[in-house]
């Protein structure tokens, strides 16, 4: 079959590209293909499927009627296996080939498995697909001893869910603190304290040396102390972009698919967006992986505009690391870079944390736990490089209020 726009993947980047294309081209044929046998969903919702808060039947980002309204040929359960850039054709695991005029790669990322001896001989969970989440949810009630490898967002969410389900949980993390990508040691300490109070054991700065079957359980050996026996092992040591199908395609891949500021790959007629893409960072020009939902939405939109020739396209401003994290009813928010400037305010106590980083009177990062500020407004202040010199003291004292006033005056 042939299509004008071929989108591989069906999560945030794919959907926002699709919407952008339809704004410009109401009729051009669009085919969206996803490896999951499911309606479009977000990997970010999966921890809540695990906990039972979200039912798998209610997590679809868009349903069949929306796809029909937007005239999308939606093919599920077919993974892309190769791309022939010259012939403009992609092949899929269901044996189909689809010819395209323009192709968007939005294949996301997959769990990165660490090179731990014995891992391939034991049963373990990962959490990236809806099926993974359904499996992990089903395993919760019968889990007594759980080991989670990795203290990133996926690992920490899972540890909380397992602890709430009554399991004895140990988290093993190589770095010296949890959520190292988003928080410094003082902020992480608040999160670590909350987990410890709920009985979750955190082994930080520790490395798993090997895993082996032990009856029904898995024995996890670490470089710190005795081996742990787990009836559930979750490997959550990060993700890596899904790019294997691009071998021989000519599309340049570093850690992810390299893209320019309009999400174009090195090959004409092919774009990439979301977790699979490696685009410019905001703080320097180096291309980075910034696998977060808001970036996927923006990059998808830019790619869709570029693919459909929308003249209003504004180039990608660069990826800013940011995230939100709710743990045991507390809120942690991280916007921007920890070290792209100097710390102008920092306070931390048992339940509250706030850090503001600025350079040349411009905001470069703001981080809080149970501290009220508007992350979207702060992100915009960073992206616009708003000069705060005239309100510097007020901003440092009352960031939320001052930022809101600037917002209301500047981009009302």
């Amino acid at each position: 079959m042939e299509t004008r726009y071929l989108i591989v993947g069906a999560s945030h980047a794919a959907l926002s590209a699709l919407q952008a294309i339809r704004m410009q081209d109401a009729e051009g044929s669009i085919t969206m293909v996803t490896r999951d046998d499911a309606l479009p969903y977000s990997p970010t919702v999966l921890p809540y499927v695990v906990s039972g808060r979200s039912h798998p039947s209610r997590v679809a980002l868009q349903g069949d009627s929306w796809l029909a309204e937007n005239k999308v040929d939606f093919i599920r359960g077919a993974a892309v296996t190769s791309v022939d850039a010259a012939a403009r054709r992609a092949s899929f695991s269901n044996g189909k080939q689809i010819g395209f005029e323009k192709l968007l790669l939005a294949t996301g990322a997959a769990p990165a498995l660490p090179p731990i001896p014995g891992l391939k001989d034991v049963k373990f969970h990962v959490l990236r697909s809806l099926d993974d989440a359904i499996g992990l949810h089903a395993a919760l009630p019968r889990t007594k001893q759980a080991v989670v490898l990795g203290a990133g967002l996926v690992g920490m969410h899972a540890a909380e869910n397992l602890a709430k389900a009554g399991a004895q949980v140990t988290v093993v993390e190589m770095q010296s603190r949890v959520l190292a990508a988003y928080f410094d040691a003082d902020a992480a300490a608040i999160i670590e304290t909350a987990f410890a109070a709920k009985g979750v054991k955190l082994m930080l700065g520790a490395k798993v040396t090997q895993v082996s079957p032990a009856g029904e359980a898995v024995r996890v050996g670490t470089d710190k102390g005795a081996a742990l026996d787990a009836d559930l092992l979750l490997v959550a040591t990060g993700v890596t972009p899904v790019t294997g199908y691009l071998a021989g395609s000519g599309v340049a891949v570093d850690r992810g698919v390299l893209v320019d500021d309009a999400m174009r790959t090195s090959v004409e007629h092919i774009w990439a967006a979301g977790d699979v893409a490696q685009a410019k960072g905001f703080y320097d020009e180096a291309k980075i992986l910034n696998g977060i939902l808001p970036s996927a939405v923006e990059q998808g939109r830019i790619a869709g505009m570029a693919m459909s020739g929308d003249a209003a396209l504004k180039p990608w401003p660069g990826g800013v690391p940011l995230n939100t994290y709710t743990f045991f009813g507390q809120q942690a928010v991280s916007v921007g870079s920890q070290d792209a400037g100097e710390v102008v305010r920092k306070e931390a106590d048992a339940k509250h944390y706030l850090k503001i980083v600025m350079r040349d009177n411009r905001l470069t990062g703001i981080f809080g736990i149970n501290a009220p500020f508007d992350p979207g407004v702060m992100w915009e202040l960073i992206l616009r490089r708003v000069d705060l010199s005239s309100v510097r003291e007020a901003f440092i004292a009352e960031p939320q209020k001052t930022a809101r006033a600037i917002m209301s005056r500047t981009w009302r």
Binding site: Y48, L61, T324, T326, P375, V377
Partner: protein, 445 residues
Amino acid sequence: MAAYNTIAFKPELCNGCNACMTACATVKTGSPDHVNSRIQIVADEAGFELAMCRQCGDPKCVSNCPAAALAKDGGNGVIEWDGAKCVNCLLCTVGCAFGGIVYNAAAGHVVKCDACGGDPACVKVCEPGALKYLTTANIYREVGDLEDLFVPGLSGCQGCNTELIMRHAMRRIGPDTVLATPPGCIPGMGSVGYNGMTGTKVPVFHPLLTNTASMLAGVKRHYKRQGREVNAVALAGDGGASDVGFQSLSGAAERGEQILFICVDNEGYMNTGMQRSSCTPFGAWTSTTPVGERGSGKTQDAKNMPVIMMMHNCEYVATASTAFMEDLYVKLDKAIDASKRGFAYLHIYSPCTTGWRFPSQENIEVARKAVETNFVMLWEFDPRDGLRLTRSLDNPQPIAEYLKALGKYRHLEPEQVDRIETTLQKNVELIRDLAEGRRPAMAGR
């Protein structure tokens, strides 16, 4: 489908009473604690500002939600939050650049404005009128409910923009007005009337092209002496403003006469046979800048009238376009208000179907293209705040989009287009510099 409703905020009218926050918090939570209000007024030394949900057309909170808990209602435009689906991840707050959806500790989840189902509590309690609940349809209905101060059946050309300007402007300005309409299309289509009858429902007179502003100034002074407060308004063409009437206009502006002079700029003397004026742009065909063996349109650039008037340091100067009516109404209100204190000048662009050679149904589209290409820039000036853009100059459409819509530019050679482009860039740079304070926006200060 109805037009979407909006809660609009005018910061200059807000007095910081915070009644809106009390009302919102009470309606939504039963407690008047402002922390629970979905509308947040923030005060600082410069005044009052607002953080609340804008019910965006392309809502980032919705696209950032991993759980499909937020959706824009296609019927009423409100972004609805579904508590049964929300997972409390707060990614919506990352997407929103307006502080419109925030985590509320008491509720234990994010909260946002839902416009109270079409009857917002905040608007009802706003005494100074800083908050208004409006729809696009309401804006026009508001004006439509005002009396049309011209008779029906004026004999303007089909699709005439100037007739729209006259009717809309006078509706908004109201009947307590004395109107001057010097020779041009406006009296030509019947506003000053025939056989002793006028086509205008307010006192109107027909000055000479040369003395409009000075005659109107005298009339205004006469009323003042009598103790009567009236609006003194001139509706003049660009010829009557920029060429023949310029001396009296400049004098009245310099003296700070309390009148509003509206220049309806159709870039030439259109009612007498489409002759060029000093507002006719470079390259344009007119009957006196013909296109043929020797001629290829006007060989000089247009006089930048609104900037010249700004340099008089008038109480208020603004540019406007009928493609941006809300902006035009706001400027009319400000101009009338300013004319109580001093001289106000409004320069409204009026594409001319007959003289510019384009189909009559395209008039508003041509007006819109003029603005979207920056050929016409929308701004306002007052002596305290200087020049302020009322529409961004960023990301303009290519000028060719505008030129190719008009028959009067059909003959242009590439080098003429280059010159138009160069002049346009210079004009944009000038206005941008003025708006950003890199050049002083008034003479002699």
